[in-house]
C-alpha cells in the first residue's frame, strides 16, 4: 500500500531524502588514519582549544598524583645534580655535612626527605591500587590522598629534625 504512493510525482522527494541521509562511513583502517591526523585537521579549521588546567577544579587525588610526578622529577634531577657535582670534583659528603649542620640544616633536609618519602609512600599506594583494583572508589582514594600528604609530611619533618 505504501509503495503505491511512490508515484513519479513524489519520486523526486524520496530521492532527495535518501541523498541527504548519505553519512560518511569510515572503515576501521581509515579510523586509525583519521585519529592520527585529527589535531592537524582541527587546527587547520582554526578551532581553539578549550581551557583545561586554568578551568578545571582539581580534586585532591589529582593533586596527590601530580605531586608524585613532581617529586619523581625532583628526585631524578637531584640525583643527576649530585652526580654531576661529584663529577666536577665537589666533595659531596662533606658538602652535605656542612649544609646539614648549618642553620638552614633542617629546612635543607626537609627539601630532600619530603620528595623521597612522599614518592615512596605514593608508590606503595600505587602498587596497592594495581594489585587491588576493587579498592578504587571515590571516597577511599580521596581519603588516601589526605593520608598520603599528612603521613609523608609528618615523617619528613621528623626525619629532617633528627
Amino acid at each position: 500500500m505504501f509503495s503505491s504512493q511512490l508515484k513519479p510525482r513524489c519520486f523526486g522527494i524520496v530521492q532527495k531524502s535518501i541523498q541527504s541521509q548519505r553519512i560518511p562511513q569510515r572503515s576501521l583502517i581509515e579510523t586509525r588514519r583519521f585519529i592520527s591526523d585529527y589535531i592537524e585537521q582541527q587546527e587547520k579549521k582554526g578551532r581553539p582549544l578549550s581551557p583545561h588546567v586554568t578551568a578545571y577544579r582539581f580534586p585532591v587525588v589529582a593533586i596527590s598524583s601530580v605531586t608524585n610526578r613532581i617529586t619523581g622529577v625532583a628526585l631524578t634531577g637531584g640525583l643527576y645534580g649530585i652526580g654531576a657535582l661529584a663529577l666536577v670534583g665537589l666533595d659531596v659528603p662533606s658538602f652535605m655535612q656542612y649544609i646539614g649542620t648549618s642553620s638552614i640544616g633542617p629546612m635543607a633536609k626537609f627539601v630532600v626527605t619530603f620528595p623521597l618519602i612522599y614518592h615512596y609512600f605514593g608508590a606503595v599506594r600505587h602498587t596497592y591500587w594495581d594489585l587491588q583494583p576493587e579498592s578504587l572508589l571515590n571516597k577511599e582514594v580521596e581519603m588516601s590522598s589526605y593520608i598520603l600528604f599528612g603521613a609523608s609530611g609528618a615523617v619528613s619533618v621528623i626525619a629532617s629534625v633528627l
Binding site: 576501521l28 583519521f34 582549544l49 578549550s50 581551557p51 577544579r57 610526578r69 583494583p133 578504587l136 572508589l137
Partner: protein, 254 residues
C-alpha cells in the same frame, strides 16, 4: 499572574507585590568561528525565581531572553543522552543534572582540552573514532549450541553493571589530564571502560584479541590512576576501576 500585574496597576487597593528577583551571574565561554578572534567570557545575569533548577534551564533561558546566538548541545534534559556535557564550576557534568547553587556566580566552560566548534560545542569526532576502534559489539567465533540466544548467568550479567550504563558524554575523558596531553594516542577513560565492558562480557569470544589490541605504550597505559574520571562521572560510574582491571588482565596475559 506576573503579566497580569500591569492590568491591576490602576487598582490601588489591591496589594499585589512584584516577585522578588534573585539574580545570579553566569559567566559563559563564548567563541564565534565566523568572527574568529580569541574566545571570551561573557556575563549573563539570570533571575533564578523565573528559572528552572538546573544549569541547562538557565542556559535555555539566556538563549531565549538575552542572546539567541548562545550555542550548546542538548536533547533529553534528563541526563540520559549525554549531549549537554560541559565544565560547570570546574567540574565536568551534564548541564541538565547540575543544580544551580546559591553562589553569586557560576562559571561555564566547554569540556576541557577539546577543539571548539562554537561557544560550548566541542568537536567529538576523535572521541567517537576512538570508541569505534575498540569494536563495541559482541564478537562470536562459533554459533550458539542450540542456535538460539547466547546465554549468560546472572553473575556474569552482574559484571556488566556499572559499565553498560555509560552514555558516552565524554565528561570523564575530558577530565583526564593524560587524555589532555595524549588525545590522539591514549583512548581515554570512557572508551577504555567500554573496552572492558566487552572484555568482561562472558558472551564475547574475542577477549584475547581485545586485550592484545590495548597492549601498547599509549592506548591503555597512559592511565596513571589520577581518578579524575570516576570523580566527575555524572552517572556515578567508575572508569578508573575498570581501567585498573584491564591492566591486570593485560599483564596476566604476558
Amino acid at each position: 499572574a506576573r503579566q497580569g500585574v500591569r492590568a491591576f496597576s490602576s487598582a490601588g487597593d489591591l496589594k499585589l507585590e512584584k516577585k522578588p528577583e534573585r539574580i545570579k551571574h553566569f559567566k559563559i565561554y563564548r567563541y564565534n568561528p565566523d568572527k574568529g578572534g580569541k574566545p571570551t567570557m561573557v556575563d549573563f545575569p539570570v533571575n533564578l525565581n523565573e528559572c528552572g533548577p538546573m544549569v541547562l534551564d538557565a542556559l535555555i533561558k539566556i538563549k531565549n531572553e538575552q542572546d539567541s546566538t548562545l550555542t550548546f548541545r542538548r536533547s533529553c534534559r534528563e541526563g540520559i543522552c549525554g549531549s549537554c556535557s560541559m565544565n560547570i564550576d570546574g567540574s565536568n557534568t551534564l548541564a541538565c543534572l547540575a543544580h544551580i547553587d546559591d553562589k553569586p556566580t557560576t562559571t561555564i566552560y566547554p569540556l576541557p582540552h577539546m577543539h571548539i566548534v562554537k561557544d560550548l560545542v566541542p568537536d567529538m569526532n576523535n572521541f567517537y573514532e576512538q570508541y569505534k576502534s575498540i569494536k563495541p559489539w559482541l564478537q562470536r567465533k562459533d554459533a550458539n549450541p542450540d542456535g538460539k540466544e547466547t546465554l549468560q548467568s546472572k553473575e556474569d550479567r552482574a559484571k556488566l553493571d556499572g559499565m553498560y550504563e555509560c552514555i558516552l558524554c565524554a565528561c570523564c575523558s575530558a577530565a583526564c589530564p593524560s587524555y589532555w596531553w595524549n588525545t590522539e594516542k591514549y583512548l581515554g577513560p570512557a572508551v577504555l571502560q567500554q573496552a572492558f565492558r566487552w572484555i568482561d562480557d562472558s558472551r564475547d569470544q574475542a577477549t584475547k584479541e581485545r586485550l592484545e589490541q590495548l597492549d601498547d605504550t599509549f592506548k591503555l597505559f597512559r592511565c596513571h590512576t589520577i581518578m579524575n574520571c570516576s570523580k566527575t562521572c555524572p552517572k556515578h560510574l567508575n572508569p578508573g576501576k575498570a581501567i585498573a582491571k584491564i591492566k591486570s588482565k593485560v599483564i596476566a596475559m604476558h
